[in-house]
Symmetry: D2
Subunit: 189 residues, 4 copies
Amino acid sequence: MAKLYYRYGAMGSSKTANAIMVQYNYMERGQKALILKPRLDTRDGLRVVASRSGLKTDCLYVEELDTINPADYDCLIVDEAQFLTRAQVERLVAIVDEMDVPVICYGLRADFQGNLFEGSRWLLAWADTIEEIKTVCWCGRKATCNARISNGHVVKAGEQIMLGGNESYVALCRKHWAQGKLGNEGRER
Amino acid sequence: MAKLYYRYGAMGSSKTANAIMVQYNYMERGQKALILKPRLDTRDGLRVVASRSGLKTDCLYVEELDTINPADYDCLIVDEAQFLTRAQVERLVAIVDEMDVPVICYGLRADFQGNLFEGSRWLLAWADTIEEIKTVCWCGRKATCNARISNGHVVKAGEQIMLGGNESYVALCRKHWAQGKLGNEGRER
Amino acid sequence: MAKLYYRYGAMGSSKTANAIMVQYNYMERGQKALILKPRLDTRDGLRVVASRSGLKTDCLYVEELDTINPADYDCLIVDEAQFLTRAQVERLVAIVDEMDVPVICYGLRADFQGNLFEGSRWLLAWADTIEEIKTVCWCGRKATCNARISNGHVVKAGEQIMLGGNESYVALCRKHWAQGKLGNEGRER
Amino acid sequence: MAKLYYRYGAMGSSKTANAIMVQYNYMERGQKALILKPRLDTRDGLRVVASRSGLKTDCLYVEELDTINPADYDCLIVDEAQFLTRAQVERLVAIVDEMDVPVICYGLRADFQGNLFEGSRWLLAWADTIEEIKTVCWCGRKATCNARISNGHVVKAGEQIMLGGNESYVALCRKHWAQGKLGNEGRER
């Protein structure tokens, strides 16, 4: 009866902080929740997840799932789940359905061009429960899209995943994402 | 400020009935809501949507969107939205964002093999709000997957869309879908 | 592991039609779902629930729960659940928690003066899952409030429940409900 | 078009941490979000909200709303909203509907005896959007109820709000809350 959750949110919607807090809540109740992330994502250092707001905790790589017994945990939590492969999502599905261990995945929905990531695609297809972590665009509307920023401008072409580049990302509502408007034209800040 | 809604549900979750009721509710308030469906789906006859529970109403084909002015309506409702093409979803996005007309799409999430449809893929990527229309598996759990049945058995191979065949579909929980269990083994019915 | 659901919606949000469709979906899967309603509500005739859109089915009174064994059913569905008493909600909670039978309640949230009904109060306090059935105000915003109309005007005083009166109700957004604006000033209809 | 949100969750569901993260996300976008709490709650010190997980930030008392102009903010965030009075909730409704400033309230649903708090009662009646912040019982089910613990035992009688006492609270599923089972019988920890 365990469930696979996909909690998606745009850049800067506190997905990692939520993941860490869920683990914390399990711990407070004397339960064990393990945080995992795809190895791809190494911006926060080795085997660590860290939120922009300052929360930080140890994690394991999804690629290391074979080294543990999921049944030893009350919950598995996956951060940066958009980077999962199809096979990894299938593995998580099996953990939920066959071992009855709940799995909560946090990730982006679509990339800077509006395409689903491999992980989000299969999680959206198979999750038992899809939940949104909301955040806002500079205009006050809900932000659902992720813009890639390079030298202060929205760029619309490039690789889906850029490692070690100088790009940054910002969450925009779909309208401002389509228009490429960052909302700071003429502002001083 | 209008929104694009994707209300997904497995086979037999009353998606069409919901679409018709939403139109009815708009009409009761003196507003105009247009129901559309992709032309592909002709099981219910020409330009008609019909629910299994007996509700029925006229509709237009999504391919005929050019013959109307979306701004004449308070809401567009799309049934069988899993069959939309990417270009059609983009068109609906533009109606929401540029004409400020809300669009509510009803459809399946994944096909009988667990793959997203073209329409559901882009709606899951771009919708402002993703909502589930729930239904149950024979075991009582939530049904999230669609099994194709041929001669009383679950089949796992074949075309994504079969028109005019003898197949039928049934909604199962992910576990029974993976096992191919219809739950009527040994039952007489 | 069964759950108590409260699905609330304003007047005219198709709550009864949804209740009937959920029963239909259970039946299609060879399962039994019983519809109940508080005896108070007799507008649709004896032991019948009927939607404005034309769906209709037999039901039992909540007061008659003692005459059946809830465990004989795969699901209990309660319409007009805002009229439940606290004791009746407690009875439903016990059916969920002790007999493991899911109970899905449909009802209004607040009355025409913005006060919770007895049934909605305790369902909002105790339900496992609270879900909204959305409908629209004449202005296009979501309607969350219920206005009582008498002689074409919004009235703000009176009994919470009026049986056999000439009042009618209309769903409005909170702003227009507070202003008492029906949106048909100057319109001919 | 601003909305009043009620995000309810049981004890230990990270409501305060969520409130602080939402403020942080607004700030990151160059927007201003003000956190408020009812004066009653002084456990975290004067004009500070602090999460168990270590996040902390300044706040204002709801009673001090007159000293600011809500229109100066992009969002108001209220923590411990279950302690709001009806009049304070009405004030927040007016800020949303008349000043078009979104208000996000975080709070408990029901007290240790299963009764709604004054604040949660009116927020559940009037909020535009009701969302749950989930947490788990020691048994793994969703925790929806709050038990008061005194000397290691669940107590069922007493004042709704105890200030300065030795009580603590723990979130339980409804079944274990009704049974008063804390799940640590016989465990060593």
